[in-house]
C-alpha cells in the first residue's frame, strides 16, 4: 500500500485511478497489460467483491422491503451514495423544484453492479447534434472533409474500433445484422456472444407492428418501426464466429472462476444478478495482474494535488503530482487518516458527479467544471393486455431481462430540430419494473379493496382476501406491461454540480450541490415525451391493450421516488424520472474556452490529469451511455499508455501509434 501521510517511504505509481467502477477498472486493466503499475483508490468498501460477499448482497436484496437499485449494497456513511427516495440525503438540492432524480453507487464495482446491462451504440447523429439539428453540443471529433454534418471515416473507424473493444471487455451478446443501422456499426460485425432471445411479449408486439407509424406533430414524421433485439452485456452462448473464428470465452463469477452461467432469467439485473451472468466491473478486476494493479478500498480521494506535499521545494509546473485521500477503518466512524499517493498520471473515474466534485475541490481553474449535468429523462406508459379470460392476456411479467428488444426508428431523424428523439423498450417486468412493485397491488386490495390506476378508489375501505383476492390478482398482474421511453436531454450550462464548505459528509468531503431542471429545453424534452407516449398508445391500441395511469396530479411525499418533471397528456399524468445516466459534468471539447477535457478525456488545464466516464460526454443521444463510456475509457487508456511512453522516454515510443490519432 501507499505511504502514510507525508511519510517518506512512499511508492510511486505510473497511474493512480480514482474509483473502482467500470471505467477505472477498464483503464487499469489495459494499462497493466502494457506493464504499467497502477493504484486504484475506491471510496467504498470491497464487500461484494468476493463470492461470499456477493451472495450476501443477493440475500440482502431478497430481504429488503424496498427493492431499490442500491438495496443489495450496504449503506456507507463514510462514502455516501445518493438515494432516489431521499433526494437531499446526500445531494444538496431544493426539494420544492425539479429534482435530479438518479442515484449511483459508491462501492468496489460501482454503479455498474446494478445496471440494466443494455448496450446500444450511439448513432452518428448523436455526436453532432449541434451541427445537424442545432441542439446541444457536438463531440469534438473530426468531421468529414466535405460534409461537416458527418463524422470523418477515421473517426467512424475509431468509434467502431473502441466500441468493439468495449463489447469484448463487457462480453456483449447481440445480433449486429438485426440491429442494422442502429448506431455506429460496420457491416458483417459479430458480437462476442450470440443474441439473447427476444421475449414472448416482444413477439406479440412485433406481430401487430405497422409498417409505418406517423410520428410527431400531426404525424408529420413517418417512421418505419422495427423490433430489434437489444444488445446486452450478459452471458448467452459464446459466438464461435467471433473475430473471424477466434471465438470468445466469458469470464466466470467472482470467487468461483469456473462458475459462469448463461442468463437464467432471474429478472433482477437491476439491482443484482444472482448468478453473475450480467457483466460487472468485478469481472474486469478479476483479470488484473496482482503485481501491477493495487486496489485499495475504503480510500476516499479528497483532491488532486499539483504540488508535492512531501517535498515542498519541488517546482509547480501545472502537472498533477498525485492525490490526497482519506482512509477509514469503520464506515460508521468519522475517524480517518490522510494519505498521499504519487503518480505520473491521475485518472478520475468516480462517476460524473463525483468527478466534477473532485475537480472543483482540487481547484482546477476551468469555468466549465460541474456544468451541463445531464441524464436521460425517462417516461413509462403503462397498459394491460386484453382480458381474454385465459392465457391470452397473460404475457408473463418478470420473465427474462428487463428489455430484450428496442422499438427502433425513433432515435435519429430530422425531427430532432424540434423535439427529443426517444429509444423505446418494451419492459418485461410489469408496471414499475421493480421487484417490490406487485406488493402495491396486494396491499391496495387487502387494505383498501381496489387496484391503483385501474379501479376507482372506494369511498369506504373494502378488504379483499382469500379466493377473491387470488382471482383478482391473477386477472390483473399477468397482463401488466409498460413501454420505457428514454429521451434525449441536451447539455445545458445551468444544470450544475458545485461544492460548498457548508455541505460536507462524515469525513469532511464535499457533498454535491445540485441545480437541475429541463429549463429552456423543457419543450424539447416534454414535447418529445408526448410524441413518444403517442407512439406507445398506438401500439396499445393495436394490441387491444388499454392504457392506465394516474388520473390525478401526484404530490411528492417523503420517501417517494424523485421526479424531474411531470406533464399531462390524454387524461393521464406522467412522471419524467431519471435513468441513472448521469453525464456531462466535465464535457470534452476543443479547448479550455469551451470545455474541461479533450477528446481523450485529458484535462485542458493539466496535461497529466484525466477525467473519464459519462461526465466527458457533450451529448448522450438516446443510448444507454455505459458502452460508449467504456469505449472512450479504453481510448483514454491507449492515450495514457502513449503519454507514459513519452514520459519515460522509451526509445521505441515512435513505434506506438497514438490512440486514434
Amino acid at each position: 500500500m501507499t505511504a502514510d501521510r507525508y511519510a517518506h517511504n512512499r511508492v510511486r505509481y505510473h497511474a493512480v485511478i480514482v474509483g473502482g467502477g467500470i471505467y477505472g477498472s477498464l483503464v487499469a486493466k489495459r494499462l497493466s497489460e502494457n506493464g504499467w503499475k497502477v493504484l486504484i483508490l475506491e471510496a467504498g468498501t470491497g464487500s461484494v467483491a468476493t463470492w461470499e460477499g456477493y451472495s450476501a448482497a443477493v440475500d440482502d436484496y431478497r430481504a429488503a422491503l424496498h427493492k431499490s437499485p442500491n438495496s443489495p449494497y450496504l449503506p456507507n456513511p463514510a462514502a455516501p451514495s445518493p438515494d432516489n427516495t431521499d433526494p437531499s440525503g446526500y445531494f444538496v438540492q431544493q426539494l420544492d423544484g425539479p429534482l435530479y432524480a438518479s442515484d449511483y453507487l459508491r462501492t468496489l464495482g460501482g454503479t455498474t453492479l446494478h445496471w440494466e446491462g443494455v448496450v446500444p451504440r450511439m448513432h452518428e447523429g448523436d455526436f453532432l447534434t449541434q451541427t445537424r439539428y442545432g441542439v446541444g453540443k457536438n463531440w469534438p471529433l473530426k468531421v468529414h472533409d466535405k460534409d461537416p454534418s458527418a463524422l470523418s471515416p477515421t473517426t467512424l473507424a475509431m468509434l467502431h474500433k473502441y466500441y468493439s473493444e468495449a463489447e469484448f471487455e463487457l462480453g456483449v451478446a447481440g445480433d449486429a445484422k438485426a440491429l442494422g443501422k442502429s448506431g455506429v456499426m460496420v457491416p458483417k460485425y459479430t458480437y462476442p456472444m450470440k443474441n439473447i432471445p427476444q421475449s414472448y411479449l416482444d413477439r406479440k408486439i412485433a406481430e401487430v407492428l405497422p409498417e409505418k407509424i406517423g410520428y410527431g406533430p400531426h404525424g408529420t414524421a413517418s417512421v418505419e418501426p422495427n423490433m430489434v433485439p437489444a444488445p446486452q452485456a450478459r452471458n448467452s452462448s459464446p459466438n464461435p464466429d467471433y473475430r473471424k473464428g477466434e471465438g470468445f470465452r466469458p469470464v466466470g463469477a467472482i470467487g468461483i472462476p469456473n462458475y459462469g452461467e448463461r442468463c437464467q432469467g432471474n429478472s433482477s439485473c437491476i439491482p443484482i444478478c444472482p448468478v453473475q451472468a450480467k457483466y460487472t466491473p468485478l469481472r474486469t478486476q478479476s483479470q488484473f495482474k496482482d503485481d501491477l494493479v493495487t486496489v485499495a478500498t475504503r480510500s476516499v480521494v479528497s483532491r488532486v494535488l499539483f504540488h508535492d506535499p512531501l517535498e515542498k521545494s519541488r517546482p509547480r509546473n501545472g502537472r498533477a503530482t498525485g492525490v490526497e485521500y482519506k482512509v477509514y477503518e469503520d464506515p460508521r466512524s468519522r475517524a480517518f487518516t490522510t494519505h498521499y499517493a504519487e503518480a505520473d498520471i491521475v485518472v478520475l473515474a468516480a462517476h460524473a458527479i463525483e468527478n466534477a466534485k473532485l475537480l472543483l475541490a482540487s481547484g482546477v481553474d476551468n469555468k466549465h467544471i460541474g456544468r451541463n449535468l445531464m441524464d436521460h429523462p425517462l417516461v413509462y406508459a403503462k397498459a394491460l393486455m386484453p382480458d381474454t379470460r385465459g392465457v391470452g392476456g397473460n404475457i408473463g411479467p418478470h420473465r427474462g431481462p428487463p428489455a430484450t428488444s428496442f422499438l427502433d426508428g425513433f432515435r435519429d431523424g430530422a425531427w430532432r430540430v424540434g423535439f427529443s428523439p426517444f429509444r423505446a423498450a418494451v419492459s418485461n417486468w410489469g408496471w414499475g419494473g421493480m421487484a417490490d412493485a406487485f406488493s402495491h397491488e396486494v396491499r391496495a386490495l387487502v387494505d383498501e379493496g381496489y387496484l391503483p390506476h385501474v379501479d376507482e378508489k372506494p369511498k369506504a375501505a373494502k378488504h379483499l382476501s382469500g379466493r377473491a383476492l387470488r382471482r383478482k390478482l391473477a386477472g390483473h398482474l399477468p397482463r401488466q406491461f409498460q413501454m420505457e421511453l428514454l429521451l434525449e436531454q441536451p447539455a445545458n450550462e445551468n444544470n450544475t454540480v458545485t461544492i460548498s464548505p457548508d455541505f460536507r459528509d462524515n469525513l469532511g468531503n464535499f457533498r454535491p450541490v445540485i441545480k437541475y431542471a429541463f429549463g429552456s429545453d423543457s419543450d424539447y424534452v416534454v414535447d418529445g415525451a408526448r410524441h413518444a407516449v403517442a407512439v406507445a398508445r398506438e401500439l396499445f391500441t393495436r394490441l387491444g391493450a388499454k392504457e392506465y395511469g394516474s388520473k390525478v396530479a401526484p404530490v411528492r411525499k417523503p420517501g417517494d421516488e424523485a421526479v424531474i418533471a411531470r406533464f399531462e397528456d390524454g387524461g393521464f399524468h406522467y412522471d419524467i424520472v431519471g435513468a441513472r445516466h448521469g453525464a456531462g459534468t466535465h464535457i470534452m471539447g476543443l479547448s479550455a474556452d469551451d470545455s474541461v477535457v479533450d477528446e481523450f478525456q485529458r484535462s485542458h488545464n493539466h496535461p497529466n490529469l484525466y477525467a473519464v466516464g459519462c461526465g466527458s460526454m457533450p451529448a448522450i443521444g438516446t443510448s444507454n451511455p455505459t458502452l460508449t463510456g467504456a469505449a472512450m475509457a479504453l481510448r483514454s487508456a491507449d492515450q495514457i499508455h502513449s503519454d507514459l511512453m513519452d514520459l519515460h522516454n522509451t526509445l521505441s515510443v515512435t513505434l506506438f501509434e497514438k490512440a486514434g490519432q
Binding site: 443477493v58 440475500d59 440482502d60 436484496y61 431478497r62 430481504a63 429488503a64 422491503l65 427493492k67 439473447i196 432471445p197 427476444q198 421475449s199 414472448y200 413477439r203 448467452s236 448463461r262 442468463c263 437464467q264 432469467g265 432471474n266 429478472s267 433482477s268 443484482i272 444472482p274 448468478v275 385465459g390 392465457v391 397473460n394 404475457i395 408473463g396 411479467p397 418478470h398 420473465r399 427474462g400 431481462p401 430484450t404 418485461n428 417486468w429 410489469g430 421487484a435 406487485f438 406488493s439 396486494v442 396491499r443 387487502v446 387494505d447 378488504h463 379483499l464 382476501s465 382469500g466 379466493r467 377473491a468 383476492l469 387470488r470 382471482r471 390478482l473 391473477a474 398482474l477 399477468p478
Partner: protein, 187 residues
C-alpha cells in the same frame, strides 16, 4: 400429529402445532394446505404472527376463521372470501388477519394500523402476551422468494427461482384458478 385440532386452542396449543396456522390461512389466502406447506414458510410465518400479536390473540384469530369457515362450507355456493373479524369487535385481530394475508402474498410483515397498534400496546399493559414492535419488514429472504403473489403473477420472484435461459421467449404457463367448493379443514 394426527390428533384432531381443538376448536378452542390456548396460545400454547396454537404455538405448538402449525396446523392451526395453516388451517386459518386456507380461507385467508385462497390457497390449499398443500400449496401453503409447499412454500416452506409455514413455521416462520406462524412464529412471526405470534411474535407480533401474541400467541393467545393468534389463537383467537384461528377460532374466528374456524367458525367462519364452517359457516361458509355449509353454504351453496361457498363464498370466495370470509368475513374479517370486525373492526368494532376487535381492531387488533382485524388488522392482524390482513397482515397475515399480505405476509403470505408478499413475504413481508406490514404490521397493524396505528389505531390497532395503539390498542395492542394498551392491552399489553393489563394482560401482557409479550409482543415485538410492529415495524414493516421482510420476514426473510426465503419469504420474499416464496410469496404467493408469484403464483398468480405469470412470472417468478425477481432474483430467484429463475425459469432458465431463453424461457422468456415461450408463452407463460397458465395460472391455475382457485378452487371452488368447500374450504379444506385440517382436523
Amino acid at each position: 400429529m394426527t390428533a384432531p385440532l381443538k376448536p378452542d386452542p390456548t396460545g400454547e396449543q396454537f404455538a405448538a402445532d402449525e396446523r392451526y396456522f395453516v388451517d386459518m390461512s386456507v380461507p385467508l389466502t385462497g390457497f390449499s394446505p398443500e400449496d401453503l406447506y409447499a412454500t416452506g414458510m409455514v413455521e416462520e410465518y406462524q412464529r412471526t404472527l405470534i411474535a407480533r400479536i401474541g400467541a393467545q390473540r393468534a389463537a383467537d384469530l384461528y377460532r374466528h376463521y374456524r367458525k367462519k369457515k364452517q359457516e361458509a362450507n355449509a353454504k351453496s355456493p361457498v363464498p370466495d372470501e370470509l368475513p374479517w373479524p370486525t373492526a368494532t369487535d376487535d381492531p387488533i385481530l382485524a388488522d392482524a388477519a390482513r397482515a397475515v394475508v399480505k405476509m403470505w402474498y408478499v413475504g413481508a410483515w406490514y404490521g397493524l394500523s396505528p389505531a390497532a397498534e395503539a390498542k395492542l400496546r394498551e392491552a399489553e399493559k393489563t394482560k401482557p402476551q409479550g409482543v415485538a414492535p410492529n415495524e414493516a419488514f421482510m420476514v426473510s429472504p426465503e419469504a420474499y422468494l416464496n410469496g404467493l403473489v408469484w403464483k398468480v403473477s405469470g412470472g417468478h420472484p425477481p432474483g430467484g427461482k429463475p425459469p432458465g435461459y431463453g424461457s422468456w421467449q415461450s408463452p407463460p404457463v397458465p395460472i391455475p384458478a382457485p378452487a371452488t367448493g368447500s374450504y379444506e379443514e385440517l382436523s
